[in-house]
């Protein structure tokens, strides 16, 4: 039971936050943290747990957002659009996954990198459908029956619900048969196969599952911001997700979410102070600071923040054992 106290407290804190601190600014940032955290979590599951070096996550996020938006604008009920988007992404991931996942390590990273670029160009060029490079505006609000989700507070609960739900899902998965099978891929695919695990089928399945989760996250983004543009889903996002995974620690499940929390608040702090010094503060300039943070983390704290936290807790546990020994 002891292991459940800390996570329970954290979840309670997350739940109570908008009630205790009604600041729309803080709630807004926390929404982004939940959304990016969920994405980073999916990415870490692929990279750190299953040995799949796909950087295509922003693509599924973007396609999910766009399909949801386009469908809802054309009058499809929001819940159905979300489902349609998830289905589209699942099909795409399934069809592309089978051949792509045959590529190993950096070949896959390379190919999915190219895919991101291709997707950005294609979306940008389909102006009539997607609003082109300027983006898509006027997305109708999310209404499920009589309930209308509007405003940051509603989406705070929605996005954190998704984020924590994903965490719960992967936590269950990794401690049972199917997830354990995935975890073996990083160490020995040969031994894995010899134990009866259909490696390519499992890789494809987790690829599709994480892509659908990214799509759902994209749908939430579309309904929250009511506006999307291709720049939100490209290479800068990919680098940001990578940063969150590294800084937060990809080896532990909650690491990426911790990473998202750290990075986003760090960015807010930096922007507050440095906006005075530098007139231009685009995503690329962020990249300098966060590139440096990634480099420092990789060198000095390779397990990320979560890794460091786990080390502390482990040491604390040992001290506790020694103290309670008769």
């Amino acid at each position: 039971m002891k292991g459940h106290i800390l996570p329970g407290l954290v979840m309670l804190a997350i739940f109570l936050l908008p009630i205790i601190v009604p600041s729309p600014y803080i709630i807004g940032v926390m929404c982004f943290i939940a959304i990016y955290g969920a994405l980073a979590l999916g990415k870490a599951v692929l990279m750190e747990n299953s040995g799949i070096f796909s950087v295509a996550h922003p693509a599924w996020f973007g396609i999910g957002a766009y399909v949801t938006a386009i469908a809802t604008i054309r009058g499809v009920p929001p819940l159905v659009s979300i489902g349609v988007a998830a289905l589209c992404v699942a099909c795409l991931a399934y069809i592309m996954g089978a051949p792509l996942l045959r590529l190993k390590e950096y070949y896959l990273a390379n190919a999915t990198f190219c895919l991101l670029i291709i997707m950005e160009i294609v979306i940008g060029n389909m102006g009539s459908l997607t609003g082109g490079h300027e983006g898509l505006m006027g997305i109708p609000p999310l209404t499920i029956g009589p309930i209308k989700f509007e405003g940051d507070r509603d989406f705070y609960f929605l996005s954190w619900g998704l984020c924590i739900g994903s965490l719960w899902f992967f936590h269950n998965l990794m401690n049972t048969r199917a997830g354990r099978a995935l975890r073996t891929f990083m160490y020995s695919e040969v031994a894995s196969k010899s134990m009866g695990i259909n490696v390519s089928q499992y890789k494809l399945r987790i690829f599709v599952i994480t892509s659908v989760m990214a799509s759902l996250t994209g749908s939430i983004l579309a309904f929250w911001l009511r506006f999307i543009e291709p720049a939100m889903f490209g290479i800068p996002l990919m680098i940001e997700l990578l940063t969150m995974v590294i800084v937060g620690g990809g080896g532990i499940l909650y690491g990426p979410i911790l990473g998202a929390f750290t990075i986003m608040w760090l960015r807010e702090v930096i922007q507050a102070y440095l906006a005075r010094l530098l007139p231009v503060m685009t995503a690329e300039v962020d990249a300098v600071f966060f590139g440096i943070i990634v480099i420092l983390t990789l060198i000095f704290m390779p397990g990320g923040i979560a890794g460091w936290v786990e080390q502390l807790m482990h040491a604390g546990r040992r001290v506790g054992e020694r103290l309670t020994r008769p």
């Binding site: 070949y107 190219c114 291709i118 160009i121 300039v285 990249a287 480099i295």
Partner: protein
């Protein structure tokens, strides 16, 4: 323009692009084979070559001295990078290096953006703007420079690696660094050399192509990525990389001409991805043939 000159024109632009990708691909291969690092800052070296030259030139230096200093500066940056960050990685793995160099690339890109702003810049061609005509297609001296660069680099590097003692020692260390150390080769100096070489070659490429393609803080990413693609497809060998690069360049050239300039990257990259995937099926097919 009749069909023949069209084809010729697209082929020329294709070979030009291919030459660029070829040299960059070689930069990737040299570093990867020697140090097992996938250096994602390779594209940024190209960008630095062009941007730094423009920067020094705009600050008052002549074009030639500016380029020399730009190349030197890039080599230094690459060397410092290797010495400080890449060597300090505690648990080296392909993944860590990949993330590290992506981060370094982002830092370089952001710094250039901060210093020089976001507009694209132009450098004047080195040999003037005279244009040659061949059966209705146009050719500038700059293009010849680019292709010439590829030829020089390819031949020079091959000669160096195969016929000089230093080059052979370099190849030996790539194969087996422990063995190389045992016979007295200073492997860490070689790593530094490779990074410096990649930096210099990248910068020179950037300078030579800047008059044709302009230069700006964001060109590093796509160009570098294409260099990586051709290095992979070419199986990290010099002839393979050059062949793959020329194919990619020609695909782009014909794609831009016959399909649409906006979608040329989509076309070329898709073909490359397909080649990568088909490559994984290659081995069993060959087996059945023998």
């Amino acid at each position: 323009m009749d069909l023949l000159s069209q084809i010729l024109q697209y082929a020329i632009s294709g070979i030009t692009a291919g030459s660029i990708y070829g040299v960059i691909g070689i930069c990737w291969s040299v570093v990867y084979l020697m140090t097992s690092v996938l250096n994602f800052t390779t594209g940024e070296f190209v960008m630095l070559g062009g941007m730094l030259t423009w920067g020094f030139h705009a600050a008052g230096l002549g074009l030639f001295p500016a380029s020399v200093i730009a190349v030197a500066a890039t080599i230094c940056i690459s060397a410092v990078m290797e010495r400080t960050t890449i060597r300090s990685v505690r648990y080296p793995s392909a993944r860590t290096y990949m993330m590290l160099t992506i981060a370094l690339g982002a830092v370089i890109k952001g710094s250039v953006l901060l210093k020089f702003g976001s507009e694209t810049r132009k450098i004047d061609p080195i040999f003037g703007a005279d244009v040659l005509h061949i059966s209705g297609a146009t050719l500038t001296p700059q293009v010849i420079c680019v292709v010439g660069l590829l030829v020089i680099v390819t031949l020079g590097l091959s000669w160096f690696l195969n016929y000089t003692l230093f080059g052979k020692a370099l190849r030996a260390s790539a194969f087996n660094s422990t063995g190389a150390r045992l016979v007295g080769i200073d492997v860490s100096k070689f790593r530094l050399f490779c990074f410096g070489l990649a930096g210099g070659l990248g910068a020179v490429t950037g300078i030579i192509t800047a008059p044709i393609t302009f230069t700006g803080y964001e060109i590093g990413l796509l160009t570098g990525l294409k260099g990586l693609v051709v290095a992979i497809v070419g199986n990290w060998t010099i002839p393979g990389t050059v062949a793959a690069a020329l194919v990619l360049g020609l695909l782009e050239g014909f794609g831009a001409g016959f399909i649409s300039p906006g979608l040329k990257d989509v076309f070329a990259l898709t073909v490359m991805i397909i080649v990568l995937i088909v490559g994984t099926y290659r081995l069993p097919l060959w087996k059945r043939g023998t």
